[in-house]
């Protein structure tokens, strides 16, 4: 099936700053794609290029089969966008903003609008200036989710929402993709949210894609922590590939091992007779920390 979004080698500079440096991204139709990266890594820039608001300096981007810059208006009828910080007109009520944005997209489903207002517990009569950050975010989310569109571009959409509302958001997104076959690009910092919703994930750093794949695939890239008590003091572990942070004291061993090297390391351990073994699976947090931390200059 054709990809809803395909981006390759995208570059964008703002003056001296290189915001995107050859970014790749592929989002299949009907999937929820997690878009992760530290602050300033280029997530919002990528989304703005996909919306035809920024013009890329180099590389290619295709959105729903069209050119995001040239075909912007036609493409925007088929997508809805929620920014990380929804700003509203102070003298328009939330309900008015939801209707206006829906009408300016592909149209609004009034039944869905009503249902979402209830589920997100939003009073649509308040004026824009009276909403808190979280409630402004809800206005943007309801306007997007109640619109009749194929693609949702969500840029940290749950910032400012309380945990209860975050849960409602997760349910609604899950329904969207299951029942309506919508494609979602979800930029987020909340790992639990990504884990619960996303089929595939792309991690970007300094304007480049560093990992992409399913969560299962990505877990393979992480390390497992092992703590073991052996019958005899071990040897040769330090020289094995994929072993990190090795601590040996007498018969006790603590180490981290790359998931790909798990098998040979375990064989080596069992050859010394394992009396007890504790292993901790890799967590997503570790995965992200590894990519989020700025590497020292080589």
């Amino acid at each position: 099936m054709e990809n809803a979004i395909s981006v390759s080698g995208l570059t964008k500079r703002f003056g001296q700053t290189k915001a995107l440096d050859g970014l790749d991204l592929a989002v299949a139709q009907g999937e929820v794609h997690g878009f992760l990266g530290p602050n300033g890594s280029g997530k919002t820039t990528t989304i703005r290029i996909l919306l035809g608001l920024l013009r890329a300096d180099g590389g290619t981007a295709t959105l729903l089969g069209g050119d995001p810059w040239r075909d912007a208006v036609a493409l925007h009828r088929r997508l809805a966008y929620v920014p990380g910080d929804v700003t509203l007109w102070p003298n328009l009520s939330g309900g008015e903003v939801i209707d206006l944005l829906g009408r300016l997209r592909g149209g609004l489903n009034p039944k869905r609008r009503k249902e979402l207002l209830e589920r997100f517990d939003l009073d649509p009569k308040k004026k824009g200036r009276a909403y808190s950050k979280g409630n402004r975010q809800k206005v943007g989310l309801i306007a997007a989710l109640a619109s009749d569109v194929e693609l949702l571009l969500l840029d940290e959409p749950t910032s400012g929402l309380d945990p209860l509302m975050e849960e409602v958001f997760r349910q609604v997104i899950a329904e969207e993709t299951k029942n309506n076959g919508r494609t979602v690009l979800l930029s987020s910092h909340i790992l639990a949210e990504v884990e619960a919703l996303c089929d595939r994930v792309s991690i970007i750093r300094l304007g480049k894609t560093v990992e992409t794949g399913t969560l299962t695939q990505l877990r393979h890239l992480t390390r497992t922590f092992i703590s073991a008590e052996l019958a005899t003091p071990p040897n040769g572990l330090g020289s094995m590939a994929g072993v990190h942070d090795l601590h040996v004291s007498d018969n006790h061993v603590k180490l981290q091992v790359d998931s790909a090297q798990l098998d040979p390391v375990l064989r080596q351990l069992t050859s010394h007779g394992v009396r007890s073994l504790v292993s901790q699976p890799p967590t997503l947090e570790e995965l992200f920390l590894r990519h989020y931390e700025t590497e020292p200059v080589k």
């Binding site: 608001l53 920024l54 036609a74 997508l79 809805a80 007109w89 944005l101 649509p124 943007g140």
Partner: protein, 535 residues
């Protein structure tokens, strides 16, 4: 810690934040009566001349409405105190804007909450704003008094006049402190404050114009008290006691109201909006109408109706003034004769009105920049709205808005002047023509803001307002400074023909219009290609 702890620090914060703005408006207010005094002293040298001048002006109810009752003595100081009464209204307006800016606006922006969490008493914020406006008003008062004394007027009268000006600011600062407690939004609080100022002006004006059995009306308006000081004639010091009592009472009321409500809340419940949008709210233009209509209505009423009536109403009086003053008649004879005096007056005031309207055009064009910088344009441009359609929705107001306001100004000026000379049929088209002829210059300034919005969005406000300031300087004092014609030609207003009265030269109008179209086109073409948002 008392309820006033931290007031001193907050006063310093206000002074620091307004360190540029405050000296500017203080100086502006101080120069206003001074320039009027030196100009008047040069033309009307004797008491008899001044008495004639006062009688001529005083024969117009329109001017009594604006200035109040005529002074009982024709000395220079009394004449200036009377003639500069509109300055008192400006002083009160500045005080309202100042106090709302430092109280309700701070609260709406959430900054008061931040300060309130520090060692700052409950009353400190409001008190600091009142202390600051009182200090600034007294400063203006002292400057006004010194300025008047420099014109060889008696010190006692100069001091009375300065204090009268100061108390206009102090009293209306206290009134604004009360209105700041009423609503959650600063815009509404400002609106109520300005509305009360308008009411005080109207009540005072009606009392002075109708006089007789209604003269007491002038005494129930704080603006009336300021006039009743009668500086340079009676110097009624006891009137200040009224002003002080009123100020203390209003400040106490404001502090009490403030202490009784929650931070961020208003005493009036916030107004709710509709839960669903009207079917008409479905295009960028419909949204732009919601965003622009408030200021359009304001300009239509403020300049179009009130300004138009004033221009037209005073035009007839201006002929009378000229008949009585030899020196002015002489000057006028050189530039077209006394028969054209009203025409010259109308052409001049319409020209001044046009520079004010240009401010509206620039503000409407720069609304695009505000919308972009606050990221409110993003969701629209991410929906199926093209950049051109979005920009066009705002430009309708930037170009057609001033057109409508200018036409209404001309219409009202023409009607009122036409009625006063019993020839509405002749005057209305002439005066409307004089208003409309200004439009190309107004459009050029608006279009310059559009061009900068496309080319250098961050600089657009500075260049837009800078260009207008330059035009005002060149237009108002350029000739007096004897600047060279090539420098005066920089302002588009220099090229506008003097109508009514003069002949209409179409070439400069066409060139200015073409320039406006070209600038707007450059702005739109570059906006179409550039990154959004530039923040």
């Amino acid at each position: 810690m008392t309820a006033f702890t931290g007031t001193g620090s907050l006063v310093r914060l206000i002074l620091r934040r307004d360190r540029v703005l405050m000296p500017i408006w203080m100086l502006f207010m101080a120069v206003l009566p001074l320039s009027l005094a030196s100009g008047t002293a040069a033309i009307y040298k004797t008491d008899a001349e001044r008495q004639g001048y006062i009688d001529d002006l005083g024969s117009s109810p329109m001017l009594i409405l604006f200035y109040g009752q005529k002074p009982s003595d024709p000395n220079l100081g009394a004449l200036i105190f009377w003639r500069s009464a509109t300055g008192i209204v400006i002083m009160a307006l500045i005080a309202v804007l100042f106090v709302i800016r430092h109280t309700r606006l701070e609260e709406e922006a959430g900054r008061r909450e931040l300060l309130g969490s520090a060692v700052v008493g409950r009353h400190a914020g409001l008190t600091a704003a009142l202390v600051a406006i009182s200090g600034a008003s007294l400063g203006v008062g002292v400057l006004v008094a010194l300025g008047m004394m420099s014109q060889q007027t008696p010190a006692s009268g100069a001091f009375a006049m300065g204090m009268a000006w100061a108390f206009a600011g102090i009293m209306f600062g206290a009134i604004a402190a009360v209105t700041a407690q009423l609503t959650e939004g600063a815009g509404a609080a400002r609106g109520i404050g300005i509305g009360l100022l308008g009411l005080a002006f109207a009540v005072r004006g009606v009392g002075d114009v109708v006089a007789g059995g209604w003269a007491w009306l002038s005494w129930i308006s704080p603006l009336g008290w300021v006039n009743q000081v009668h500086a340079f004639t009676d110097n009624r010091w006891w009137v200040f006691a009224l002003a002080i009592v009123a100020t203390v009472a209003l400040a106490a009321l404001a502090l009490r109201l403030s202490a009784r409500r929650d931070v961020g809340a208003g005493l009036l419940p916030p107004r709710l909006g509709p839960a669903t949008a009207a079917p008409s709210l479905s295009s960028p233009l419909a949204l732009a109408w919601r965003l622009h209509k408030g200021s359009l209505y304001g300009w239509l009423v403020g300049l179009g109706v009130v300004g138009g009536v004033l221009f037209g109403g005073v035009a007839e009086t201006s002929t009378k003034l000229l008949e009585d003053n030899e020196q002015l008649t002489e000057i006028l004879a050189r530039i077209g004769g006394k028969s054209g005096a009203a025409d010259i007056f109308l052409a001049g005031t319409l020209g001044m009105g046009a520079t004010a309207i240009a401010a509206y055009g620039i503000a409407a064009a720069l609304r695009m920049r505000t919308e972009e910088a606050s990221l409110r344009s993003e969701p629209l441009l991410a929906a199926s709205v093209s950049r051109m359609r979005w920009a066009a929705s705002h430009l309708v107001f930037a170009f057609l808005g001033p057109t409508v306001v200018m036409a209404v100004t001309g219409l009202f000026a023409g009607l009122v002047y036409g009625a006063s000379v019993d020839n509405i049929g002749r005057e209305v088209p002439r005066v409307v023509g004089g208003a409309l002829v200004q439009l190309p210059a107004i459009w050029v300034l608006g279009a310059l803001a559009v061009a900068m919005f496309g080319l250098r969005p961050r600089l657009a406000p500075a260049i837009g307002w800078g260009a207008l300031s330059l035009c005002i300087v060149l237009g108002q004092i350029g000739a007096a400074l004897q600047l060279s014609q090539s420098l005066l030609d920089v302002s588009p207003f220099t090229h506008i023909p003097r109508v009514p009265g003069g002949s209409v030269a179409f070439t400069p109008l066409l060139i200015l219009t073409a320039l406006a179209v070209a600038l707007a086109a450059v702005g739109l073409a570059t906006f179409r290609r550039r990154d959004i948002p530039v923040t």
